[in-house]
Symmetry: C2
Subunit: 147 residues, 2 copies
């Protein structure tokens, strides 16, 4: 986790490094809390799948497109979460040659728990930043990428 | 590059995902511009070294500590940038058994060019976000991690 200020004037803290530091802090908070709540095997990387899967299941290629990942990258996430019991691959009723990735009961429970945990992190950030600054931050970030 | 909005209500856009999306946009902008300016072989990952190296050179273990990386991770960055001609490993005058990582002429030129490019990205963001919102964003992010 990089929290170091630059020791030289090579690259003063630009917006890219500031974003990276904040994102890594969120990631560390999330992983620590997921571990405490019985999810030592789920990391932020997995949220690319959890965030984009439909209640009735979604094809892996479609998940990759929604998450902006390669098919191979999403395939690895699917395989990993399948092995851990969070998703299962089932026949697509619309096309028997295709497979849908679908949440298991454990996967659904994880989504509920993760939502609570993320809410706790946001609440802690809001209190520590004060003055509605988390909501200001959120509003500006929602305009990214600015065009 | 994930710019997708969530297609389900599993995980509405939380602050972690918003930070990640903004950070990835910066990363993509930086890599595109570095490529155009003759640095197709330098990526944001390398900035962990460029940002923390002293003018007179710095030990690899110290770079790792400053960047919040493992010694192995920094060792790989050093080896990669040495192969590409941006840094060289020289004897430490203070301890002949130790090595310093030092910028080459090419490495110094890269730092100057990267600083210009980052300034251009920030200027583009500032104009597109409008109303001093980039500076507001920067001020809030400087308080991360909030304690």
């Amino acid at each position: 986790m990089s929290r170091g200020r630059s020791h030289t004037s090579n690259q003063p803290e630009n917006i890219g490094r500031l974003l990276l530091r904040a994102q890594r802090d969120f990631d560390a908070e999330l992983n620590a809390r997921l571990g405490e709540r019985g999810y030592p095997d789920v990391r932020l990387a997995h949220s690319a799948l959890f965030a984009h899967i439909d209640p009735e299941g979604t094809r892996s290629s479609e998940l990759a497109e929604r998450a902006g990942m390669t098919k191979q990258g999403m395939g690895q996430l699917v395989a990993d979460l399948e092995e851990k019991g969070y998703v299962e691959r089932v026949e697509d009723p619309a096309d028997r040659r295709a497979k849908l990735v679908r949440l298991t009961k454990k996967g659904w429970q994880h989504i509920r728990d993760a939502r609570v945990i993320i809410g706790e992190i946001e609440e802690a950030y809001a209190q520590r930043l004060g003055d509605g600054r988390l909501e200001t931050l959120r509003a500006i970030l929602k305009d990214f990428p600015p065009r």
